[in-house]
C-alpha cells in the first residue's frame, strides 16, 4: 500500500517537474510581457521532436549512449531558437494591442507550429526507445523508479532554484521583477524594453523546449502533445497564480500529483479532475495561490 502511494507520488512529481518547466516559461512571459502564450505547449512539443532527432543523430554517430541526455538537452536548447523568431517576427507587433489579439496571435503560432512539426517529422510517434532505462532503476522504499526520472526531478529542482536565484540575486532577475511590476517605470529607469522582451521570451521558450525534450524518454512524441499540454500548463498557472514563479512550482506539484492519483484510481477522471479544479480555483480564488494579477 505504502509503495503504491509512493509510486503514484513519484510519477506525479516526475510529471510535475516537466510541467513546472513549461509553466515557469509561461509565467515569466506573462509576468513581464503580460501575454498568455498559448504556444508554450507547441514549444514543448518542438523541444521533444528536436530532442529525439538529436538523440537519433547522436546514436547514429556512434557516440556513447550513456551520454544521450546531453544530446537531448542540446536538442531542447536548439529548439528554443524558435523563441526569438516568434517574438521578433510576430509578437512585437501586438504589444500595444488588446490582450485578446495577443492571445489570438499566440494561437496562430500554435496552428503554424503544429503543422510545421507534421511537415518535418510526420505523424508517427517517435521515441528514444530503450534509452529510458539505460541508467537503470532504483528501489526506494519498495518502489522501483527509473533513475532517469530521478535525474529529471533533480534537474527540475535545480532549475527552480536557479530561477529563484536569478530572480532575486541577479540584475537580470531584478529587472524582470521590476518590469513585471511596473513596465512604464522600468522603461523610465532606462531599461531597454524590446531587448528585455526578447530575452524574457527566449527564456520562457527555453524552459518549454527543454521540458519537452526531457519528457521524451519516458513517453513518445505525439502530434497532439503540444495542444494537450497547454491545458495542463494553464491549469498549473491558474492554480498557482498568473505571473508567480512560486505558483508555477506549487501548481505543477498539485497538477502532477493529482493527475497521477487520477490515473491510478479512475483513469476516466484524469483530465476531468484537473479542469474541475481549475474552475474551482478560478471561482474561489481567481488569483490562485500566489497570484498578483488582478482579475
Amino acid at each position: 500500500m505504502m509503495s503504491h502511494i509512493l509510486n503514484v507520488l513519484l510519477s506525479g512529481v516526475f510529471h510535475a517537474s516537466i510541467l513546472f518547466l513549461v509553466a515557469a516559461g509561461l509565467q515569466v512571459v506573462f509576468g513581464v510581457q503580460k501575454i498568455f502564450n498559448l504556444a508554450c505547449g507547441s514549444f514543448y512539443a518542438l523541444g521533444a521532436y528536436v530532442g529525439v532527432s538529436f538523440v537519433q543523430a547522436f546514436l547514429r554517430a556512434g557516440l556513447p549512449p550513456e551520454l544521450f541526455v546531453l544530446a537531448l538537452v542540446a536538442g531542447g536548447l536548439c529548439a528554443a531558437v524558435v523563441g526569438p523568431v516568434v517574438e521578433r517576427g510576430l509578437l512585437r507587433f501586438v504589444y500595444d494591442r488588446d490582450e485578446t489579439f495577443q492571445l489570438l496571435l499566440t494561437f496562430a503560432v500554435v496552428l503554424m507550429l503544429e503543422d510545421a512539426i507534421r511537415m518535418v517529422w510526420g505523424t508517427s510517434p517517435l521515441s528514444t526507445g530503450g534509452l529510458y532505462l539505460l541508467y537503470g532503476q532504483v528501489r526506494i522504499l519498495g518502489v522501483t523508479v527509473p533513475v532517469y526520472n530521478l535525474i529529471v526531478i533533480g534537474a527540475g529542482l535545480l532549475i527552480a532554484l536557479l530561477i529563484g536565484y536569478m530572480l532575486t540575486r541577479t540584475k537580470f532577475g531584478r529587472i524582470i521583477r521590476a518590469a513585471a511590476d511596473n513596465r512604464e517605470m522600468a522603461e523610465a529607469l532606462g531599461v531597454d524594453m524590446p531587448w528585455m522582451y526578447v530575452r524574457v521570451f527566449t527564456l520562457g521558450t527555453v524552459l518549454g523546449t527543454v521540458g519537452g525534450a526531457l519528457v521524451i524518454p519516458a513517453t513518445a512524441t505525439m502530434t497532439e502533445m503540444g495542444i494537450e499540454l497547454i491545458v495542463e500548463a494553464f491549469a498549473v498557472v491558474v492554480i498557482g497564480g498568473l505571473g508567480s514563479m512560486r505558483g508555477a512550482f506549487v501548481g505543477a506539484l498539485v497538477v502532477g500529483i493529482l493527475r497521477s492519483i487520477a490515473i491510478s484510481t479512475y483513469p476516466e477522471l484524469e483530465m476531468l479532475l484537473i479542469y474541475l479544479i481549475v474552475i474551482a480555483v478560478l471561482v474561489l480564488k481567481p488569483r490562485g495561490l500566489f497570484g498578483e494579477v488582478g482579475v
Partner: protein, 324 residues
C-alpha cells in the same frame, strides 16, 4: 443598397444546388451551420467584447443532442433536435455564463476554455453514454414531419436538407439582426466599449453579458445540431478547444465589426480549407499564417478591409465631384 446586396446573395445561395455539383453543394451545409454558430459567437465577441475559447462546448451540446435524439431515442424530427439543442444549451449556459461573466479578458477566455475541455473529457471518457472517441451516429432526420429516409443521402443533403438549413439560417439571421439593432444591442455595445461607464449609466454589465452569453450558446447549439446530419456523425473533437479556436478564426477572418463579417469568414474558411487540403495537408499552417497576418495587419478582417476600401472610394468620389 444593402437590401439589394442581400437579395443577390440570397439568389446565389438558393441557386447553388442547381448550378454547382454535389460536392460544392454539400460543402455549403457546414457553412450554414457555422454561420448560425458565428452569429451567436459574434454577439458575444464583436458586440459585447467577450472572447470565449470554449464555444465548442455548446456546439458539442447541440450536435450530441441531435445524435441522442435520432439514434438513441428514435426521435427523428429535426425540429425536436433543434429545440432540444437550444434548450440544453440554455440550461447549461445559464449557470456557466453566470459564473464566467464575472471575469474578463484572459480569465474569461481561459475559464470558457476549461469548461469546453471539461465537456470534451466527459464526451471522451464516458464512452458508454457518448460513444467515446468513436462518437455517435446522427441518423437522417425528418424535415417538417416528412420522412425522407427513403431518399439517398446525397440527394437528401443537396435537396431538402440544403433548403432547410438555409431557412434556419435565414430565421437565425433575422432574429439576430433584430437583437443587435435593439436597445439591448446598444447596451451590449456600450458594455464592450466601456463597461465602467456603462455601469454608471445604469446598464447592469454582468447581467447583460449573461444574457448575451446565453443567446450565443443557444445559437451555437442550434448550429451544432445542424452540423450533425451533414456527416451523419458527431465526435468529441467538436468540443475540443482548437475547434473553438477555428470559430474565433472565422470571425476574425471575416471581420468582427460587421454583422455579416463572421459569415463571410465561415464561407472563406470552409472553401479555403477545402482548397488548401486538396493541395497540401497542412491547412493549419496556412490558417495560422493568415490569422497572424490578420491580427497584425488587418484586425478588422475581410469586411474591415472592404469597408476601408469603400471609404477610400467614397473619398475619391467626393474629390472628383467637388468643384475646383
Amino acid at each position: 443598397m444593402r437590401a439589394a446586396g442581400l437579395a443577390v446573395v440570397a439568389a446565389v445561395i438558393l441557386s447553388v444546388p442547381f448550378v454547382a455539383g454535389d460536392f460544392h453543394t454539400t460543402l455549403m451545409l457546414p457553412f450554414f451551420a457555422y454561420s448560425v454558430i458565428l452569429l451567436g459567437f459574434n454577439l458575444l465577441f464583436g458586440y459585447t467584447g467577450l472572447l470565449s475559447f470554449g464555444h465548442s462546448l455548446f456546439i458539442g451540446i447541440g450536435a450530441y443532442a441531435a445524435a441522442f435524439l435520432t439514434s438513441k431515442f428514435g426521435v427523428m424530427h429535426l425540429e425536436a433536435s433543434l429545440l432540444a439543442a437550444a434548450a440544453a444549451a440554455g440550461l447549461v449556459a445559464a449557470p456557466i455564463g453566470a459564473l464566467c461573466v464575472r471575469y474578463v479578458k484572459i480569465y474569461f477566455a481561459m475559464l470558457t476554455l476549461a469548461f469546453g475541455m471539461l465537456f470534451y473529457s466527459f464526451l471522451l471518457k464516458f464512452y458508454f453514454v457518448t460513444g467515446g472517441d468513436e462518437g455517435m451516429r446522427v441518423l437522417q432526420p425528418f424535415l417538417l414531419a416528412f420522412d425522407l429516409s427513403a431518399m439517398p443521402k446525397i440527394r437528401f443533403l443537396t435537396g431538402p436538407y440544403y433548403y432547410y438549413s438555409v431557412a434556419v439560417l435565414a430565421v437565425a439571421t433575422f432574429v439576430m439582426w433584430r437583437i443587435v439593432s435593439s436597445p439591448f444591442g446598444l447596451c451590449l455595445r456600450s458594455i464592450r466599449d466601456n463597461p465602467n461607464k456603462a455601469e454608471f449609466l445604469g446598464v447592469s454589465v454582468k447581467r447583460y453579458r449573461w444574457y448575451a452569453f446565453m443567446i450565443s450558446a443557444v445559437y451555437a447549439a442550434v448550429g451544432g445540431a445542424l452540423l450533425g446530419p451533414t456527416t451523419g456523425q458527431v465526435d468529441p473533437n467538436l468540443a475540443y478547444w482548437t475547434h473553438s479556436g477555428n470559430i474565433v478564426f472565422m470571425t476574425l477572418l471575416g471581420g468582427f465589426a460587421n454583422f455579416f463579417g463572421p459569415l463571410v469568414g465561415a464561407l472563406v474558411f470552409i472553401f479555403l480549407q477545402d482548397t488548401v487540403m486538396s493541395v497540401v495537408p497542412y491547412w493549419r499552417f496556412v490558417f495560422g499564417a493568415i490569422l497572424a497576418f490578420l491580427v497584425i495587419f488587418a484586425p478588422g478582417g475581410l469586411m474591415g478591409l472592404l469597408d476601408a476600401q469603400v471609404a477610400r472610394w467614397g473619398e475619391k468620389a467626393r474629390h472628383v465631384g467637388a468643384p475646383t
